[in-house]
Symmetry: C2
Subunit: 362 residues, 2 copies
C-alpha cells in the first residue's frame, strides 16, 4: 500500500514516502540522517503521540528534542531562535540533521531553522496532519510569521526526505482533516480534472478516513504540486496557481484574527468565491460552481465568509495582503474544473459581487 | 582605471565593479535595482560619509534608509529583525532591493535580511572597507552572530551586483586598512604565488593607499576568491582553503573577547602560526616563514598571539570553535607560498609548538 514519490530538483531532489505505519519503520528514516547529531522538533500535542516510535529509529545517534507549544501564534521569531539556542547549547555541527515531527507550523519553523543554522543543514519532514502531508511536503517553503504578515521571513529549503505516515491521521481532529481536504480539492481544481472526479467519487471514503483513499489523495496531491514546483522552484511563474482561493482566504483569516478559522477552511470558502468570480467573468460554466461548493460541503468545509465579515472589508484586506506580497492585486481564477490562470484584470465591483454571491445558499 | 569582474554562478552570476568614484556614478548602480522600492542599510559611521552620493543614484525610487549602530556586537538577531520591521512598516514588496553600504557587518546583516525577506529579495553590496571589498564581495555568505558563536545563523545569498568604490578607502582607519591587507596576503599564500610576489613589491604603495595598487590588489583578491567559490559555492571542498589562519585567528578573537583585535589582525597572526606549523611538518621551507611574517609586519599587522593568551588556552579555544563548526579539528596549512591544503592529521603538541614559535622574534 506504501507509495514513494520522487521530487526532482537536481541536487536538491528527495523522496516522499506515503503509507501506514511508516513511523515505525526505522530502516526508512535512517539512511536520510546526515551526521550523528539529530534534533527532533515537535509540539506538545504531537510529541506525546508519535515521538516515541520516531525515537526508536534513531538509536545510536545523539538525539535532542525540542518541544514547541502548539499553535500558529508560536510560528514566530522567539520560537525559531529557541531552536538555535538549543542546537548551540548541544554544540551541534554543520553536518547535523533536524527532523520536523508535526503539522505545518512545526515543519515551517524547523525547515527555516535548518535553512539558516550554520547556513544550512539537512532536515527531514515527518508531517502528521493531512494539510502538511499534501502541502508542506512539497515546495521547500519554510518560514515564520511577522506581526505585519504571515510567512514574511523565510527561505526556500528542500528536505532530504519526507515521511508521511497516514496512521498519524487517525488522531487528527475532524476540522483539521477537512482543512487538509480543502487543499486536496485545490489540486483537482487548478490542474487535474480527473482527480477532481475521483474526489467526488471517493468523498465518503476520505471523510471516513479510509486508508487507501487517503494514500491515493495524498499521492496525487503531492504529484500535482511536484509538477508545478519542479517547473518553478522559486515561484516566478505558474507556481502562483497554487494560491487558488488564498487571497480571499487570507482576508478571512486576517479579518477574523488568525486562529479562528483554520487556513484550509478559509481557502475552501476562498475557492468558492474564486469560482463565483470566474463564472461571472464567463470563464467557468454555471454548473461548475455548485459542483465545487457541494464537494467542499461534503467535507464539512465552509463555502462563504463568516456573516460578520462584510464584503467591503474583505476587499480591503485582500488589497493589503497583496500590496505586501507582490504589488498589485492579482487573483488565481478558473477556466474550468482542472484549469486555472492568474489575472490582475478584475474590478473591485466584480470581487465584491463574487463574495456576495458565495453567501447565497441555493 | 576601473575594473569589472564577473562572478560566474549560473543564474546567480553578478558583476563586481572596482574603481575610484563609482559611488558617484548613478548609471552604474541603477540597472541592478529591482522593482521601485529600495532600502539602503548602513551604519552611523559610514552613512554620514557616503549615503548622500549613493542617494543621488536612486532618484525616482521609493528609498528607505536603515542606519545601524556601528560594531560587530550589533551583528545579531535584534538588529537583523529591525530591518524586517522597517521593510514591513513601509510595505516593501517581494520585488524590492536592499543595498548594503558599509563594511562586513553591514553586508552580512543586510545580505541575510535580503536572503530571508519574503524568502529572498535582491541585494546590492556597496562595500566601504578593504576587508569587505576583497572578502565579503565574493562568496554569498551572509549571517549574524549568536552569543555561542560567530556566523552561526545565516544563508548563502548572492548579491545582484557589487560596487567597490576605492575612494571610500581614503577614510578608512589605518588598522582597518591593514586588516583588509591581511586577507589580501591570504589569497597570495593559498593559491597565487605571483600575487604574493607582487604584494611584496607593492607593499609600500598599498600602505600609502596608492589607488592603482589598491585596485589591482582588490581585483586579484576577488578573482582568486571567485575561482575558489565558483568551483565550490556551498563550501563542500576547496572553499575551506579560504580559512587559512582562521582557526588560530578565531581562538585569538574568542580568547580576547571579540572586538579587541580586528578579525584581519587575528588572521594575520593565525597565518604565521599556520606557516610555522607547516614548516615544522616539513611542508614549507624554512625561508618562507620569515618572508610571510615580514610582509605582514610591513602592513603593521601582528604576527603572534597576544602575550596574555597562553598557548594551551589557544588550543582549547581552537578545539571548541571547530567542534561547533564541523566536528574534528582540521587546519589549513601551506605546502609552499601559493599552495595550501586541509589536514586533520596534526597533534596537540605540534599546534602548541607552532603557537610558541610564532611568539619568538628573530
Amino acid at each position: 500500500m506504501n507509495k514513494r514519490l520522487d521530487i526532482n530538483l537536481g541536487a536538491r531532489s528527495y523522496p516522499i514516502f506515503i503509507g501506514p505505519g511508516l513511523l515505525r519503520e526505522p530502516d526508512l528514516l535512517r539512511p536520510y540522517v546526515r551526521g550523528k547529531q539529530v534534533m527532533v522538533v515537535s509540539n506538545t500535542t504531537v510529541a506525546p503521540l508519535y515521538l516515541e516510535p520516531l525515537r526508536a529509529g534513531l538509536v545510536g545517534l545523539q538525539v535532542a528534542e525540542r518541544i514547541l507549544p502548539d499553535g500558529e501564534i508560536y510560528k514566530e521569531r522567539n520560537t525559531w531562535h529557541g531552536i538555535f539556542d538549543a542546537l548551540l547549547a548541544e554544540r551541534y555541527a554543520r553536518d547535523c540533521t533536524l527532523i520536523a515531527l508535526g503539522g505545518g507550523v512545526v515543519g515551517d519553523i524547523t525547515g527555516f531553522a535548518a535553512a539558516c543554522y550554520q547556513r544550512g543543514v539537512a532536515f527531514i519532514q515527518v508531517p502528521t496532519t493531512l494539510l502538511a502531508q499534501v502541502d508542506s511536503s512539497v515546495g521547500g517553503k519554510t518560514g515564520i510569521n511577522h506581526p505585519a504578515g504571515k510567512n514574511m521571513i523565510g527561505a526556500f529549503h528542500q528536505p532530504v526526505a519526507v515521511i508521511a505516515d497516514t496512521d498519524t491521521l487517525s488522531t487528527l481532529p475532524e476540522r483539521e482533516l477537512a482543512a487538509g481536504l480543502a487543499e486536496v480539492v485545490k489540486y483537482g481544481l487548478i490542474r487535474d480534472p480527473a482527480f477532481f472526479n475521483w474526489l467526488e467519487a471517493h468523498a465518503d471514503a476520505l471523510q471516513n478516513r479510509d486508508a487507501a483513499a487517503l494514500i491515493e489523495a495524498i499521492e496525487r496531491s503531492c504529484q500535482n504540486k511536484a509538477d508545478v514546483v519542479e517547473a518553478d522552484e522559486r515561484e516566478l511563474g505558474q507556481r502562483a496557481l497554487l494560491n487558488l482561493g488564498h487571497t480571499f482566504g487570507h482576508a478571512i483569516e486576517a479579518g477574523l484574527g488568525y486562529g479562528d478559522w483554520l487556513h484550509g477552511e478559509a481557502v475552501a470558502a476562498g475557492m468558492v468565491m474564486a469560482a463565483e468570480l470566474s463564472r461571472q467573468l464567463g470563464w467557468l460554466d454555471a454548473a461548475a460552481v455548485p459542483r465545487i461548493r457541494s464537494l467542499l460541503e461534503r467535507f464539512g468545509l465552509p463555502v462563504a465568509p463568516p456573516p460578520g465579515l462584510g464584503s467591503e472589508r474583505m476587499l480591503e484586506l485582500m488589497a493589503v495582503d497583496k500590496k505586501v506580497q507582490a504589488g498589485a492585486l492579482r487573483l488565481v481564477l478558473l477556466k474550468g474544473i482542472g484549469s486555472a490562470l492568474v489575472t490582475g484584470d478584475v474590478s473591485a465591483e466584480q470581487i465584491i459581487a463574487s463574495i456576495d454571491a458565495s453567501r447565497k445558499t441555493f
